[in-house]
Subunit: 230 residues, 2 copies
């Protein structure tokens, strides 16, 4: 029986754009696990009540219910140890947690400051008020104000914020080394979010990160490349 | 025969403060390898000519000469595989490279902006002109101007720059997981630099990073705790 995954969707149910859900879509494919995704919208908190919380991704695997992308990745690694490894052992997992923390604590906020207003145009109509109010409360200003000036600000985002990723990819093919690991899925999933919801390009064409992203888009029978974007 | 390591020293030859050399001092102790350190000053480039470059750390292990802290850590892991592992396998090493890149590309610069003028007071007299000129060229302003306003700026450093480290240490005892790994030595070594050269405290006393740093200071028979500071 396929694993069921609740996956953030837009007004177009085929548009899937959560950075956390993309990490898990890639992790599922990495493990070769079949999945049925259920489109979910921000305001459908009640639909997730069975998971004891209100955010996606949530997966149901037989009797097991797991939420939080990091916990789901750990669950896959523990439950399907004979399939290709996401972490390459306990130390690899511990080190990946730093990359996950950096992506959540630094990278996501940096990206939001460049594309958060664009998201308003793709979320489901019933989510729009929730989305605007919750994000404007978080930033302390209008979505329009947050995103303002991005044409000039993106240079600093590319030079400074993406620097650690660029330094690594200048030395090795994947963040996981010779083969992709969950570290690749963390950073790729985070970049797949703006790629799906905005036409504003965050990664310069001549950046090694762009070439690596093309390789990621081709993984698993071009799973992420086939996904709809705006 | 003990490994020889060229180690950045101040006017006081016992004061050792290079963030890169500290990573390797900790890695040597982690592997249980004996070391003889040779105090070295910034302007003694000729002393390192045998290594084909002009920066420390440089180690000589029998006939092997290795420079660059990351390369030295990889050399130890490959040459002494039966001793406690620094990386926990190929994926752990690949993921640690992200942490190393973040420390070099983000953390070091953030710390320098808070303590770089203090360094001038501890470097060897013969290094002072070199140190001031090279660092002022890098920052495009005087050392005094770089460090100005640190009493207020340190709050942002703590909240934003140290955030990924804090998030990890809220979930696991060491950056390496249940035991220290080279990831711990990277971040600890980087923090040992300001700790040795400045009385300005970068880490708040109630930060989980402070508690972890105390544990790091106690490792290897209190190796780093015994080191002189200003």
């Amino acid at each position: 029986m396929a694993i069921v995954m609740y996956d953030l969707a837009g007004a177009d149910p085929a548009l899937r754009f959560s950075p956390y859900c993309w990490r898990i879509r890639m992790a599922l494919a990495h493990k070769g696990l079949a999945v049925e995704t259920v489109p979910w919208r921000f305001t459908e908190k009640a639909v997730l009540a069975f998971s004891g919380q209100g955010r996606v991704p949530v997966i149901r695997d037989g009797d097991a219910v797991v939420s939080d992308s990091w916990s789901i990745a750990e669950y896959f690694e523990a439950t399907y140890p004979d399939r290709p490894s996401l972490f390459g052992g306990a130390t690899g997992r511990a080190h990946a947690r730093f990359i996950n923390s950096w992506a959540d604590g630094v990278m996501l906020g940096g990206i939001a400051r460049l594309i958060v207003r664009d998201l308003l145009d793709v979320v489901d109509p019933k989510d729009r008020t929730y989305f605007r109010e919750s994000r404007e409360a978080r930033f302390g200003m209008s979505l329009e104000a947050v995103q303002q000036g991005r044409e000039t600000r993106v240079a600093d985002f590319r030079a400074s914020l993406l620097l650690p990723v660029r330094l690594v990819l200048g030395r090795q093919k994947w963040l996981g080394g010779d083969t992709p690991s969950y570290a690749d899925h963390i950073i790729f999933g985070t970049l797949q979010w703006p790629r799906c919801v905005s036409r504003f390009e965050l990664v310069a064409a001549d950046d090694p990160i762009a070439a690596w992203r093309e390789r990621m888009l081709d993984l698993f029978d071009r799973l992420a490349r086939k996904a709809p974007t705006v």
